[in-house]
């Protein structure tokens, strides 16, 4: 599959995401925030970083970039979209995903190998995992506290839209330990931890993140 990885001014993890896409067995296509078309890709990854310097709110300016107009339209038609960290923030600002991400409750940047449970394996990004599977993936964020009103939290839990949860100590004050969510349709997924940093034995905590990138093929042939 052709997987687009968007680079915004201030993106940090776009090259790692492209590499993870290739290791996952796909062709990585570089997309630029100013692009007005998606170059025929089958899926899109919004990588981590500090797009537009996190000015105003994380993801608030990126959400209105030309490429995001295309991404929002394609997502509405069912294209798989994965937002990692800052990408997750952009998807929440775009209202493609419920909730918002605020500053960590302990006010410090968190950087650690994080244990997670994968709670929804019906998305095109998580189909390679088994429900409840425990994985360890790098987490690094300053504004990763997932918040939403109680009604929204009840709804997304009831609809199975919680994709991943933190295990052990809550690293950033996220409500109900939510680390990742999906939209109602399941094609759009946001995740605060970084699976693209956990795809090779050589670096990081292991290869537990690879499933996010190999899942696409499994989903396509399902």
């Amino acid at each position: 599959m052709k997987v687009g990885v968007v680079t915004f001014p201030g993106s940090l993890d776009d090259v790692d995401a492209q590499r993870a896409v290739r290791i996952g067995g796909h062709e990585a296509v570089a997309l630029w925030h100013g692009d007005h078309d998606l170059r025929g890709v089958d899926a899109v990854v919004l990588p981590g970083g500090f797009s537009y310097g996190d000015y105003l709110r994380c993801g608030a300016i990126s959400r209105f970039s030309p490429v995001m107009t295309e991404v929002i339209e394609a997502a509405g038609k069912g294209m798989p979209v994965l937002g990692i960290c800052n990408g997750f923030q952009i998807l929440c600002e775009s209202h493609l995903l419920p909730g918002a991400l605020i500053r960590n409750d302990h006010r410090k940047f968190a950087c650690r190998d994080q244990r997670l449970s994968i709670d929804n394996v019906a998305t095109p990004w998580t189909a390679a995992y088994t429900e409840g599977q425990e994985v360890t993936i790098v987490l690094k964020n300053g504004e990763g506290g997932f918040v939403a009103d109680a009604e929204t939290l009840d709804r997304i839990e009831g609809e199975g839209q919680v994709v991943a949860r933190y295990l052990g100590d809550n690293p950033n004050g996220s409500m109900r330990a939510i680390a990742g969510v999906a939209n109602e349709r399941g094609n759009v997924v946001g995740l605060m931890p970084h699976p693209e940093h956990a795809v090779e034995d050589l670096t990081g905590a292991g290869t537990d993140g690879l499933g996010f990138f190999t899942s696409l093929a499994a989903a396509a042939f399902a």
Binding site: G99, A100, V147, D149
Partner: protein
């Protein structure tokens, strides 16, 4: 030039870690009696021409679309015509 001011505040039920940090710093500096601090943002928009209802309606739209995130923040809009016309009063 008239100014339209948009004040954005985190919703009461949303944790405000920055406000908490300020609250924690005050007693260390000897300022007592403050029991809570909420930190928000203030936008001063200079507009060309008169502030008509249409202009205000547009500012409300800007505030709800870009300046605030309605999931976590509330905003208020008011016109501050005193800012530009009268010399600043220095305390």
């Amino acid at each position: 030039m008239p100014k339209v001011v948009v004040d954005v505040m985190p919703k009461p039920e949303i944790l405000d870690p920055q406000g908490k940090a300020v609250l924690g710093a005050l007693p260390r500096l000897g300022f007592d009696g403050v029991v809570d601090v909420r930190q928000g943002k203030r936008f001063e928009l200079e507009v060309a021409g008169e502030v008509t209802d249409a202009v205000l309606a547009q500012v409300h739209e800007m505030a709800g679309t870009l300046l605030s995130n309605p999931v976590i923040e509330n905003f208020t809009v008011h016109v501050d015509d005193a800012v530009a016309d009268t010399p600043e009063v220095v305390a």
